[in-house]
Assembly symmetry: D2
Homo-oligomer: 353 residues x 4
């Protein structure tokens, strides 16, 4: 089988380099080009190194980066994986879709459009069909987005617990890694030995994105979820892995054992389809008193191709009809490039690519 | 006026060194001795340095530490400030009280006793009278405790908001500094670039201590507060200053302006009495988008003697009848040694010393 | 006595904010204006907060910053303290001098000019006279520079040891704080949990600047010092305080005791003149096994106005004719704004202002 | 071929867990038991997790740890890999050797014995023969040690440059990771945002160990190397990877190109023998301006089994007959467990096992 040609956009950034890492030896996809701003035109990928675990990125480190050229990408690539910053992503992604390219994007620009799926395949695979509503679809071009990195991590357990026990309210406080802000991102003078209790637009994004992801499609429109979501976001001096504190109110009473069982046994379409980047266990529950921790659990996920794709839950406790827990997920893998790649794998299985 | 002689217990530890720092040139108190375990007997305080801002501790750095000797302390000191670890604090503090010493303690051992005040003078100054119920009181000895460091920080705003708007529920997630775990405390291999979502017994302490602090005294007994408190605690790589994320449900509707006004204008007995360690503003509200931050706000508090004694609130938002905010307070000053010193100052004003 | 009016340039930056902090209630100087780039015009200083120990900067936090205007500065200020970045400092400082302003600068641009003193008053106070060679001097305008932050820290002990024992070679490795790179400076993704063994131009600057500072003035020209200097520079995740490892070869044999004595007893013109920012002890020698440390010693210096102005040496050992030691100094106080203020105080004592 | 049975001693520690990680699926060795102090008897390895990159340790995480029992180890294992702390390592290792076990140790206790090799196979493979002098050798038991973690990293380039250009002097300053101090090791209150310019006995060890490693065997005795070594050691807030600043004086002049070439082309017996843990390139030279960095280069080494086994050099410069550079190596892999495993592989190739 011929592999599908894919372009990586934003290859000098945090998310872009995760894309390159994940696409090395991918069974479905093959990188046809790496693109970034004019400033990086002609640079070696290795010169722009952002990822600390680059031992898994070795083959491509000598490759050259090109300036973004929509026509060239459309000519050479069926798919574009976009790690572009939101100030330029919107326009370029629209142009690529119009030119017949299937765009899988991390940027926020198109996420809340009615005809654009905000996709986490374990949560709302059915939403993928919405791409058929996009004007460019006839031409083969469309846009699929993945959610904000801090949305993604809790969407998985919220989906499971909502289905099982009927969630009414979800209160989250985040402990977000600096890689979530891209590069150069957070100045070291701001974050070293500190916590910053503010991430621009993050709380708003989480609240509206969760309503869309947990919502349903009825006929031709999204019906947002009725779970009341309230979030306080903070940045902590951690490189990778967003930890989130959750207090949930469930409509239906459940014991800690039932909650753990629901989370652990959860499997969904990506697992049934055995998509290459789908983790065997979407949610891992740890029993130790002090887990999950970013330093120990951010890269959880098997098989090797699903490294960093599992959400890790722990400290699950109950108090009356409230559930308390912590959840961790890798913000640039499951909550970034890995999420997009899994979305594209689902699109392959649906014969959209 | 002769100053009151005070002993510092646990002088080689985090809290003990804060005591020494706060008691330099104190208008009411004078250090008669510094005590710690046998192992430190005869050491210079400076050799055991734990506090980074020790430029404010200079006079005492050459002083010698002695092994704890209850008889000697009782003979030489009217007051003992205790920064002892809880595995030995309980017994030694009881012996000191029995021997006629007024003990102001940071340890958890006696906090929940019915005859021991768990005192934050701005919140529950009336509780101080409970010391009269202690058996040793006739003899001049008694025990006053201050709350857990993470309890203290949020007790101030919760008290104000409960009085003003009738709180029903308080959901907190903590971002706690490593100095809260004492020394050697948290191994660097555990916390560098990481978050640990677990602090032993901390959540339980916060929930029961807040019920006591926010509760009332009716006749001769405490009536615990009815505010429902739920907490998730985590340790972050920050040296000083516990940050806490709060989502509160109020019984009475209030605008953000009213909430800010209630917090900012709050003054209580310590301010009226102009106690030396009482901050002019118990709660400072910051308007910047990204405050409070441990690195910028932990030491907030005026005058100089009240450095680190103000709680700092920020990011105050509303959603229906829920209030969202962050609060920061210094865990070893307001939430530790400073709290004890303020308690003792209140006791002086009440002529208990 | 009327205070001398001074402008602070670069007031939104790390060094600029240290200037404002040091100039609060200064006995000689009074701030007439704070200036920065167009972008900050009209902002409150507090909005641009960079310094963590801002409790000592309180009065000015509500003050407004203006865009730089050479004419206005020349009209209102006798002195300009410059914390401007080197890409714009050179021109603006020259214009100010031409307009009759005495400029005390942290920028590298004019440091190596033959008619510009590269001044550390304890090392080379005599160099200040070189300002008389500057064209603008007749008009009252001149430029005095202080050295690179990592040069300054070791210049003090090198000066002392060279005078006492005749240094032949100095090999230094640096452990430099992130505040040395200004703001936003070092991205957190680069430095958190990491060391970066490279600081652009830093090693070159240290080698040529030390030759100038340790050199002598013979007749009308500088004679550079003959001490052979070799440096490896690295950035570490520390906020304030440059630590440096030194291995020195001395021409004259000396015992550890003699070395310690020479360093400790060193006093120079600023101490004799009792300049307000001169530390009582220019070099503090610590005997503990594990000092100096940035977290404990960066702010060393008495009296209060000389906070952060002492260099702190420790671990002094000998091996044949080699001396091994560590030295620490505060990079934005002694090695930055504090150095400039001390230079200006010396200029006052010399009646140049 | 039957695999050789090996015991891991100190399995709950930093080095012990690296041993388990490296021995998973090892072509020569098979773990027969994991041992630690009484306190850990019966614990799951996973409960005692110290290593952050434990995704490569998965198979063994459910295994149980036993209390150390010399007789049982001697009965079940041909080899013991020791990550024991030096306060107990000396005696236990001697007992094991006496009982016929080949011990490969990280502890310092036996390193300087005349009949014990202090072995880095690329530097001094010939030293391995010294085990024949040990009393227990007839019985099959012997002790081989690897060097201190900070010694190992620079021994590789020093060996190469000494052979090629005749080194006279080596001046090193270290930037050492916290994992080098074991667990719990360095308290976070000491090292967060700080540098500690002191590591007990480390400088002395480096100086005497390098003399032994770079020395030669003449007849039946070691002749220490004549290179003059001077070291200043410091701990930095980095998890893994010791960085070292070097200034070297060479007897023979060499250009930067010749130095780079000598380092890059270096291959030794482990490479020729293709030992499983031998890196293809013992020394990797990076050309980027700002490398090596612990966060990017600590795990350098190919093939997969040699992850963390390459030393990485960079910033190679010259000044007269002095060479300046930085070198990085992984302190618990190449400088710890990985070094011991490579030593044992060499022993297999020499038919000592």
């Amino acid at each position: 089988m011929n592999k599908i040609k894919v372009a990586v956009l934003g290859a000098t950034g945090m998310i872009g380099q995760r894309f390159v890492q994940l696409l090395e030896d991918h069974p479905y996809f093959e990188i046809s080009g790496m693109y970034a701003s004019e400033r990086s035109d002609g640079k070696r990928l290795g010169e722009t190194l952002k990822i600390r675990d680059h031992e898994f990125l070795d083959e491509s480190l000598e490759s050259r980066i090109s300036a973004i050229d929509v026509k060239e990408i459309a000519r050479t690539s069926r798919v574009a994986f976009s790690g572009l910053p939101s100030d330029i992503a919107g326009g370029i992604e629209s142009e690529l879709a119009a030119a017949g390219v299937a765009v899988f994007s991390n940027a926020a620009n198109h996420r809340m459009r009615d005809d654009v799926p905000l996709l986490i395949p374990e949560c709302n695979a059915a939403h993928l069909d919405m791409v058929r509503e996009q004007g460019s679809f006839a031409n083969g071009g469309f846009i699929v987005t993945n959610a904000n990195c801090s949305t993604t991590g809790i969407a998985l357990p919220l989906k499971v617990l909502d289905d099982a026990f009927g969630l009414e309210m979800a209160i989250a406080s985040t402990y977000q890694a600096i890689s979530g802000a891209g590069y150069p991102g957070v100045p070291s003078l701001d974050i070293l030995g500190n916590v910053i209790p503010y991430i621009r637009n993050e709380e708003e994004k989480m609240e509206i994105e969760l309503a869309k992801i947990l919502g349903s499609v009825e006929g031709d429109r999204f019906v947002p979820s009725g779970v009341q979501v309230m979030v306080n976001c903070a940045r902590v001096p951690v490189v990778d892995g967003h930890l989130e504190s959750l207090v949930l109110r469930a409509g239906k009473d459940a014991s800690v054992e039932e909650i753990v069982k629901a989370l652990e046994e959860f499997r969904a379409e990506p697992q049934e389809l055995q998509l290459p980047s789908a983790p065997l266990r979407p949610i891992i529950v740890r029993r130790e008193a002090d887990r999950p921790q970013p330093a120990l659990d951010a890269f959880a996920g098997e098989p090797a191709r699903a490294r960093g794709m599992s959400a890790v839950a722990g400290r699950i406790r109950k108090k009356e009809n409230y559930i308390k827990m912590f959840v961790l997920s890798h913000n640039t893998l499951r909550g970034g490039a890995g999420g997009s790649v899994l979305n594209a794998e689902l699109a392959v299985s649906r014969r959209l690519l």
